[in-house]
Amino acid sequence: MNEISEEPADGAAAEPQPLALDNWHREHGARMVGFAGYSMPVQYEGIIAEHLWTREHAGLFDVGHMGQLIVSGAGAAQALEALLPGDISKLKPGRVRYSLLLSESGGILDDLMVTNRGDQYYLVVNGATKWDDIAHLREFLPDEITLNHLDDYGLLALQGPAAGKVMEALGVKPALEGAPELDDLKFMQAGSFLWGEIELGISRTGYTGEDGFEISVQAEHIAALAQALVEMPDVKPIGLGARDSLRLEAGLPLYGHDLTHETDPVSADLAFAISKSRRAEGGFPGAERIVGLLEQGPGRIRAGLALDGRMAAREGALVFSGETQVGTVTSGGFSPTLQHPIAMAYLDAGVAADGTVLAIEMRGKRLEARVVPMPFVTHRYRR
C-alpha cells in the first residue's frame, strides 16, 4: 500500500509544532498529522462519521494553526485597502468580510477574513501562508500602522445546526453592556463576549456551509473551553479530514489547492470579494488586470463537477471534453452527504456552463462528470 494522492506537504518542513490543544486532542483519541507546520488532528472516530455529525449536530474544530493578526493605527482601513480588493473603510464595527491578499499581478497570496473590531481590524489568515502574509503586511503596510500577531491565542470553530443552541447553553454574555447578545449575531457578524471571566472574540462564520461560530481565545484557556463544549451532548471534536470534505461540499476553496498566487480572483469565481466601489476606483494590487477580467470574463473559471459511481477524482486530474483537455481538478473527493464524488476544477470558460458533460481522467480511466452549481450542499447560514 502506498498513498498515491496524499495531500502535498503544506508549510514548513521542520518538525511540526504542537497546538495549544495538543494533549487534549490526543486524550480525545485524535490521530495527529503534520499540517501547516503544526501537529494537528486529522480524525477522531472517522472522517465520514465526523462529517455527518457536523451536518446534523455540531462539530468542534481546532483551527489554532491559522494566523490571527491585528492591524491598528490611524488610516488602517485605507492601508488595508491598498493590499486587498475589499471595501474595508465601509465595513462597519462588528462586521466580517471575506477578502484576498493580492500580489502586484493580481494573484491571490492568501484568502482571509477581516473583522472590524471598532478600534482595530482583526484578520484571520491561513496557517500555511501566515508567515508569508506577515512578511508581506510588514513590508507593505505604512510605518504608522501596527501589525500584531496574536500568537498566544487559539482559535476554535463550532459548526453545525446545533451550534447556536450549544453556545446558548455555554452561557456567554456580551463584553460590553448594551452590545448584541450572541444569538443576535447573524452570518458574518462578530463581537467580544465573556465566558465567565474569560474574553472570547466570536464571529458567526465558518468553513463548512453550516451555521456556526469561530471563537478566538487566549491559549491558556482553550482547553477548558474545548472541554466545556464537547461535554455538551450535541458536540463532538472534528478533525481536518472532515473539515476538508465539509468545505468541499460547501464549495469553499482551499488555499494552496484551489487558490494559488497564480490564480486571480475572477477566475477563482471570487469576484464577490471585489467590492463595487473598488472596481470603479481601483487602487488595489493587480486592479487593472482584475477589472479587465471582470469586463471580458475569465478564460478559465473555478467550477463544480459531480460524478456518478464511487471513484473519486483527485487534485491534479485532467478534465476533457472529447479529446481536448479543458481543465484540471484542484480538489476532489467522495461527498459523505451526497454519497457520490464531487470535485472543484478550473475549466475553460466555454465548457463551464452548468449541465455540461465532461470526462475526468483518473488512473487511465475516463469518469463522466457534469458541471453543477456550487455549493454542492446548500449553505445553512444564519442570515
Binding site: I48, A49, R314, P336
Partner: protein, 123 residues
C-alpha cells in the same frame, strides 16, 4: 493454510496454489473510511509488486501491490456496493481478490503474523 504479510500492509492467505489477498487491519485503520475499491479483472496476469488494486478513502487513494505473482481468479464483488467492508473486515470478508499463485517460492520473502505484528509495533 497460512497467512503472510508485506511491509506495504497487504496480506495473502495461501492454500496450495490458491491465494487470497487483502489489506491489513492496520492499513484500513490508517486509511480511514474507504469509499471505493478498484479491483483487478479475473484472468489478469500479475507480477509480485504490481499495483493491482486501488483503495480510495475520503482522504486519498492508495495502491495495493500484489504480494505474489500469478493470475487473478476472482475479485470480491461485494466491495462494489459496500467498500466499507474493507474497514469492518479487512482481514476476512473485506478481501480484495483471489489469485492462482505461479511462484510459491515468493512466499518465503514475506512475513508471518508474528513478524508483521512486530513490524507494525515499530511504526
Amino acid at each position: 493454510m497460512s497467512r503472510y504479510f508485506t511491509t506495504d500492509h497487504e496480506w495473502v492467505e495461501v492454500s496450495g496454489d490458491a491465494g487470497t489477498v487483502g489489506i491489513t487491519d492496520y492499513a484500513q485503520g490508517q486509511l480511514g473510511d474507504i469509499t471505493f475499491v478498484e479491483l483487478p479483472a479475473p484472468g489478469q496476469a500479475v507480477n509480485k509488486g504490481d499495483s493491482v488494486a486501488v483503495v480510495d478513502s475520503v482522504k486519498a487513494a492508495s495502491d495495493v501491490y500484489t504480494p505474489v505473482s500469478g493470475t487473478v481468479s476472482e475479485a470480491n464483488s461485494a466491495l462494489e456496493e459496500a467498500p466499507e467492508l474493507v474497514n469492518a473486515e479487512a482481514e476476512s470478508g473485506g478481501w480484495l481478490f483471489r489469485i492462482t499463485v505461479s511462484n510459491p517460492g515468493e512466499i518465503d520473502g514475506l512475513m508471518d503474523e508474528t513478524a508483521y505484528k512486530a513490524y507494525i509495533a515499530e511504526l
